[in-house]
């Protein structure tokens, strides 16, 4: 199976790369400087990414967004995640889009608000509150265990060497 984002990962022109994350210019940008930041692993939706890895990904996206302001003089950025086909996701590989914004760039990400009754709002509130009460206990990155050495490295006997060096020094008139 070919994944367009896994293909991008192979690009020699990455903007950023670490062990889990890479960033590249979008080949079909919304505006110039449009960056795609993605995990190297082929996660399809954000639910599959470990929490800490998502945190790192997001943090990198923030830094790249700053670079867009300073590097190519954008006046704003939109950061968008499309999670799921119905949310507009086209490639089944998690990605964060960083879209530089300028005056009159022709983009408009505004939505018409939906009118909900007080009752509808309250119903949604109760449902979501119930669902959100277990949030917490985020997965943390496993830190590598410090390597335990069974045997202590033998101490170098420096005395002989020192003596030798001292002797050498003394020999100098």
């Amino acid at each position: 199976m070919n994944c367009a984002i896994c293909e991008l990962k192979k690009s020699k022109e990455l903007l950023y790369e670490d062990k889990d994350v890479f960033a590249v210019l979008s080949p079909e940008p919304a505006t110039f400087g449009h960056i795609i930041v993605a995990p190297k692993k082929h996660y399809q939706i954000i639910e599959q990414i470990p929490d800490y890895e998502f945190g790192n990904l997001f943090n990198i996206a923030n830094k790249l967004s700053t670079a867009v302001f300073e590097g190519i003089g954008a006046q704003g950025t939109n950061i968008i995640i499309q999670n799921g086909v119905e949310a507009g996701q086209e490639i089944p590989h998690v990605a964060i889009h960083i879209i530089p914004r300028r005056e009159n760039d022709g983009l408009n990400f505004e939505w018409a608000p939906k009118q909900l009754t007080e009752e509808q709002m309250s119903t949604v509130e109760l449902q979501l509150k119930e669902g959100a009460k277990d949030i917490g206990g985020f997965q943390k990155e496993e830190k590598a265990e410090p390597i335990k050495l069974d045997k202590k490295p033998e101490k170098l006997k420096l005395s002989d060497q020192e003596n030798y060096l001292i002797k050498q020094l003394r020999r100098i008139p």
């Binding site: 022109e13 903007l15 950023y16 210019l25 080949p27 079909e28 940008p29 919304a30 505006t31 110039f32 400087g33 954000i46 639910e47 990414i49 929490d51 800490y52 945190g55 997001f58 967004s65 700053t66 670079a67 867009v68 300073e70 590097g71 190519i72 003089g73 704003g76 950025t77 939109n78 968008i80 499309q82 999670n83 086909v85 119905e86 949310a87 507009g88 996701q89 889009h97 914004r101 300028r102 005056e103 009159n104 760039d105 990400f109 939505w111 018409a112 608000p113 939906k114 509808q120 709002m121 949604v124 509130e125 449902q127 979501l128 509150k129 669902g131 959100a132 949030i135 917490g136 985020f138």
Partner: protein, 243 residues
């Protein structure tokens, strides 16, 4: 808000300019509706809250269940948020997205941030939107696709990469010798035009456009390399040089 006289405006500006950063922050906080929501001084439908952030239902939702996740501390824009807090918030956003999928049985979610007024940021308090999505819900968050030439990509990449390497500490800050936003602008114009023109005349308009894109760097390069001969430098050559 009552109209202020020019004198009052001036006095206020004077006052603001004399404030210490702490005072200024306190002043912003006092006048920020979202800080008041966080503090509970303005009522809201809170869905989630912890030490760092609060999620409330958006009163003008794109879809039912649209939430705003914001830091408790008043940060006007995303780059001001400490790394730990932002990481934490992103993990909360991920969890909220999961709640939407599970509880409201929606087909997808969008996480959306507007950084800066031009990007649609309205409030002076950073926030992250978590929006439930269903097919045909009329929410327009598609990302348009435009064409871009390789040389334009290379030019943009060069500028961004230089900045990114500094930000991630891979390179020390250096003053760019050739600060020519014109090149970028011309690239922007090309994108703009490509967007405006429809397909039928693609071929015909392609050429003058390209010329325009090439002209400016040519002139600049010529200036820079005047002593070195070769005034005929195109964006493609620049692209080659950058490899």
């Amino acid at each position: 808000m009552p109209e202020m006289t020019p004198e009052q405006v001036k006095a206020l500006q004077e006052k603001l300019s004399q404030m210490s950063p702490e005072e200024l922050k306190a002043f912003q906080k006092k006048n920020c509706i979202f800080c008041q929501i966080v503090d509970g001084k303005v009522s809201s439908k809170k869905i989630y809250e912890d030490d760092v952030c609060v999620a409330v239902l958006d009163i003008n939702p794109a879809n039912p269940g649209h939430m705003l996740l914001m830091p408790k501390e008043h940060y006007a824009i995303m780059p001001l948020i400490p790394e730990d807090e932002l990481k934490h918030m992103s993990m909360v956003a991920k969890a909220l997205s999961h709640v939407l999928l599970k509880v409201l049985k929606v087909g997808g979610t969008n996480i959306f941030i507007a950084n800066g007024a031009l990007a649609g940021q309205r409030a002076q308090h950073f926030m992250l939107h978590v929006i439930p999505r269903k097919e045909g819900d009329g929410v327009k968050l598609e990302i348009p696709k435009k064409k871009i030439t390789k040389s334009q990509m290379a030019e943009i990449r060069k500028r961004l990469k230089a900045r990114i390497d500094v930000i991630f500490g891979k390179k020390k800050e250096e003053v760019l010798i050739e600060q020519e936003p014109e090149v970028i602008k011309s690239v922007g114009e090309v994108i703009e035009k490509e967007k405006e023109k429809e397909e039928p005349e693609e071929e015909a308009v392609e050429k003058p456009k390209k010329k325009k894109a090439k002209k400016k760097p040519k002139a600049k390069k010529a200036k820079k390399k005047a002593k070195k001969k070769e005034p005929e430098v195109t964006l493609d050559d620049i692209a080659e040089l950058m490899k």
